[in-house]
């Protein structure tokens, strides 16, 4: 097992190198002069030049890149000019917010879309099937920020059911002591039910916004996979053997159909992490998406680089995890691999 993990990680390294190089170049190509920005409104050319030197921006590109790589090797992701903090600590404090939101969105999407896909597969071509397809496709056809804003408008502004879109917790609740950074988990571990409830309330709308977006591909894939599996020989045998339809469906068919869905989850998770940027802006969610966005607008290089690198590494880890999970679920892979 560890050999497989090591091999997978080795394969990922060139990809990560590519990411580092591309991010660096893109960042340097960003218009705007951070030195001018941070020299302030009354700066002279001379003052800006001083700041440019201080920020190391007057060196040649290869030199800057070398410095960047050297710092990376030490775990130093640089310093954000917009927050004034080291990027690594900014990311560390903000990553759990994005991860918690994305995971909740994914879980919600699974909980809704998998049963939908399964039921559609048992009634192919029926009005239910078509209806489910229309519904899930509608969810993925709207710009995600629009869905978010409409949900806030209807459920908060008009109906008052949802809490104010102020971030992860309302103004009067203190965060639970940090163990994982996931408020739901930390509040549960610290036995603080009111904090848990407060965090859950704030999570509701953004989770629905994200989940809505992920439902369609999951439902579609589940349906396709189920259809494929339901038509196979072993299912026919199971039915012929007299097993109850529910057992056939859930114990035999679904477990096999889930394999391609698991593969798809990796892509969807990565996709949701990207879409997070927009959702975080709408819900004032203090995650790494909004962090990177503000840095991008301020031509603040270090956070953007750190953000992209973090995402890329997450993606690699995620694919690795999925590979391993796959091995656990599917014995054929173990034998072949």
């Amino acid at each position: 097992m560890s050999r497989i993990v090591a091999r997978r990680l080795m394969v990922a390294v060139p990809g990560l190198v590519g990411v580092v190089v591309v991010t660096f170049l893109l960042n340097r190509a960003l218009p705007g002069d951070p030195a001018a920005f941070f020299a302030g409104p009354a700066a002279t050319q001379q003052a800006i030049q001083e700041i440019r030197v201080k920020l190391g921006l007057d060196r040649s590109l290869p030199e800057q890149f070398a410095l960047y790589v050297r710092d990376l090797a030490r775990g130093d992701l640089g310093r954000s000019l917009t927050t004034g903090q080291p990027v690594a600590s900014d990311l560390f404090s903000r990553l759990p917010a994005s991860l918690e939101l994305t995971l909740c969105g994914l879980v919600l999407a699974l909980v809704v879309a998998v049963p939908l896909g399964v039921l559609s597969a048992t009634r192919p071509g029926s009005p239910f099937d078509h209806g489910a397809r229309v519904l899930t496709t509608a969810g993925v056809s709207l710009p995600i920020f629009f869905t978010g804003l409409v949900l806030v408008y209807v459920f908060y502004y008009l109906l008052g059911w949802a809490p104010p879109p102020l971030g992860r917790l309302d103004a009067f609740t203190t965060p639970p002591p940090r163990i994982t950074g996931f408020f739901l988990l930390d509040a549960a571990l610290a036995r603080q039910p009111t904090t848990l409830a407060a965090a859950a309330r704030q999570l509701a709308l953004p989770t629905v916004t994200l989940g809505f977006f992920a439902m369609a591909p999951i439902a579609r894939m589940t349906r396709a996979a189920m259809l494929g599996v339901l038509g196979s020989d072993f299912i026919r045998t199971a039915r012929a053997s007299g097993l109850a339809p529910r057992t056939v469906l859930l114990t035999y068919a679904l477990r096999n159909a889930l394999l391609p869905v698991v593969t798809l989850l990796g892509m969807i998770f990565s996709f949701l992490l990207g879409a997070n940027v927009l959702v975080e802006k709408v819900f004032a969610w203090p995650g790494i998406g909004s962090y990177a966005l503000e840095a991008l607008i301020a031509s603040d290089y270090a956070p953007v680089q750190g953000f992209v690198l973090t995402m890329a590494m997450l993606y690699v880890l995620l694919n690795l995890t999925i590979d391993l999970v796959y091995r656990l679920i599917d014995p054929r892979v173990r034998i072949e691999g």
Binding site: G40, T82, D90, Y157, F172, A197, A198, A200, P286, Y291
Partner: protein, 534 residues
């Protein structure tokens, strides 16, 4: 039927808890103010590099200055700072020397920093030295009041501080009341200074070393800042609010929703249209005050063709659709200047009221006279950070200019690049705004149109005659000569028209009906000391 999994019971009760605790925490509400902003401070140190506007608000409330301004009540009952009255803050009293070349301040003996140590003249000197030494914006601002060298600052004894003047400048005293000359706890700061960082820039960025009415309880950059009252504050009446929470909410629509539903108490950061509607709806209090010594304008580069030709600039001036811009972009929230180079509530505003009339025929004729009968193509730029107002203005201007032959492409420039482009001074035509803290017309002209070519001289305007008038006005003591100087430089600006003043912005603020005590300040930030919730 599927057998219900065992988790359902606990899950349902959790759900119930979630819904039930919805209406939570009403206690402490009346002593806590929830402020929502578009973006928050990027440093707690106003002398820090690149300190943004929200950082001024933090600094104003965490730190004290030697003096502050008094209050006056306007005809409509609203309150604003009185720029003619300087009140004691850390300084109990001050005396100007008979020869007028120095001011001696007597400091309060009971003033304490947040860590309990007393405020002494040594702290004042260290802080002022810092302000004039670190460069950048703070140093510039000190210079505007002729506060330029650390030699000017003298510690006479522990509670006496003297400022020696380089020249007689009527702006010196007012300049000591602006946000920049804060008094920092020098001993505390010096503990965190290093050989490379003698002014403790690193530490003061994230930490509070002030003596102001509020202490920093917590700061999560990009999320929220929480202030808690400093109960030992002696430089004025103890504020009523115990706690102030400033939360960042990037979406403008959500900010409005939060205010309307009562989940936030106060905010500056709404589009003009929302203020206009909230004012009419009457559920919230909307207070407005024209931003002093400020206007938004159409700027042109006078150094490069085609706008280097005077007649072209005059043509543009006559093509600016003032009324349309005012109604669609600002929803009337402002003062329409129509070219008046001096804003309302500033001396000289009445000299040239609404001097420019929109006249497309005249504009077209001027274009022909300038040799551009067939027009030309150019780029119209503006700061994306202010797109809410600038974009509709740009679109309307674009349409109008097209009618006199000037075909523009609109260039929406991201914030960081905007500063850079302004510095380069190459943009042919653009929308920009400037506001000065000190309410004197020559202060505005000094920054914007003087040959010293500050970054705010966005048109690259150079005219020795203009410089003479501005410099004379700055130090003029005779009121008749002063009037002539001001009239002179205003008239010159209208003649050369490097920029067309369009509107003076309004500082709007919306708050719940139970929030009282708001006062307009020239720095356009909230002073928590005056606010209370009833």
């Amino acid at each position: 039927m599927l057998r219900t999994p065992r988790m359902v019971g606990p899950l349902l009760s959790l759900l119930a808890t979630i819904i039930a605790t919805g209406g939570a925490a009403a206690q402490g509400r009346n002593e806590t103010l929830i402020v929502i902003v578009e973006s928050g401070p990027n440093t707690m140190d106003i002398h820090g590099v690149g300190a943004n506007r929200p950082a001024y608000q933090a600094s104003w409330n965490l730190y004290d200055r030697l003096m502050t301004y008094g209050v006056k009540t306007l005809a409509d009952g609203s309150k604003m700072y009185d720029y003619n009255v300087l009140k004691p803050e850390l300084a109990e009293s001050w005396t100007v020397a008979p020869d007028g070349m120095s001011v001696t301040f007597k400091l309060r003996r009971d003033a304490r920093f947040h860590d309990g140590t007393p405020v002494t003249a040594k702290d004042v000197k260290w802080s002022f030295d810092r302000a004039v030494t670190v460069g950048g914006f703070p140093t510039f601002q000190m210079k505007a009041g002729s506060l330029e060298k650390s030699e000017q600052f003298e510690t006479v004894d522990d509670s006496t501080f003297r400022v020696n003047l380089l020249r007689k400048d009527k702006l010196t005293m007012p300049d000591l009341g602006v946000p920049v000359p804060v008094v920092i706890n020098a001993e505390l700061a010096k503990k965190h200074a290093t050989a490379n960082d003698p002014w403790a820039m690193e530490w003061l960025k994230n930490n509070d070393a002030g003596s102001g009415a509020y202490r920093l309880e917590s700061w999560k950059p990009g999320q929220e800042t929480i202030y808690i009252r400093f109960d030992d504050w002696k430089s004025g009446p103890l504020p009523k609010l115990k706690r102030v929470i400033v939360r960042e909410v990037p979406s403008a629509g959500n900010r409005r929703a939060l205010l309307e539903r009562g989940d936030a108490d106060i905010s500056f950061d709404l589009p003009p249209k929302d203020f206009a509607e909230l004012a009419k709806a009457g559920k919230l209090q909307v207070t407005s005050h024209p931003v002093e010594n400020a206007f938004g304008y159409v700027g042109m580069n006078v150094k490069n063709a085609p706008f280097s030709t005077l007649k072209v600039r005059q043509a543009v001036a006559h093509a600016v659709p003032f009324e349309k811009m005012f109604s669609s972009a600002l929803f009337g929230r402002g003062v329409l200047l129509s070219g008046n180079p001096i804003a309302s509530h500033t001396y000289g505003h009445d000299f040239f009221p609404s001097p420019i009339k929109t006249d497309l025929t005249k504009a077209k004729a001027l274009m022909a006279e300038a040799g551009y009968a067939n027009g030309f193509d150019t780029t119209l730029s503006f700061d994306q950070g202010f797109a809410t107002i600038n974009e509709p203005m740009a679109v309307l201007l674009q349409e109008s200019l097209a009618q006199i032959g000037i075909r523009t492409t609109i260039n929406k420039v991201p914030g960081s690049n905007w500063r850079n482009l302004l510095l380069k001074k190459e943009m042919p035509i653009f929308l920009n705004a400037f506001g000065g803290w000190l309410n004197y017309p020559e202060y505005f002209f000094f920054w914007n149109l003087h040959g010293q070519n500050a970054v705010f001289n966005t048109s690259s305007y150079q005219n020795p005659e203009m410089d003479k008038l501005i410099d004379a006005a700055r130090f003029e003591t005779d009121s008749k000569k002063y009037a002539e100087d001001v009239r002179g430089f205003a008239k010159l600006m209208l003649a050369d028209i490097p920029r067309v003043a369009v509107y003076q912005p309004l500082l709007d603020i919306a708050m719940q009906k139970n929030v009282k005590g708001y006062q307009y300040w020239f720095h356009r930030q909230l002073d928590y000391r005056q606010l209370e919730k009833q």
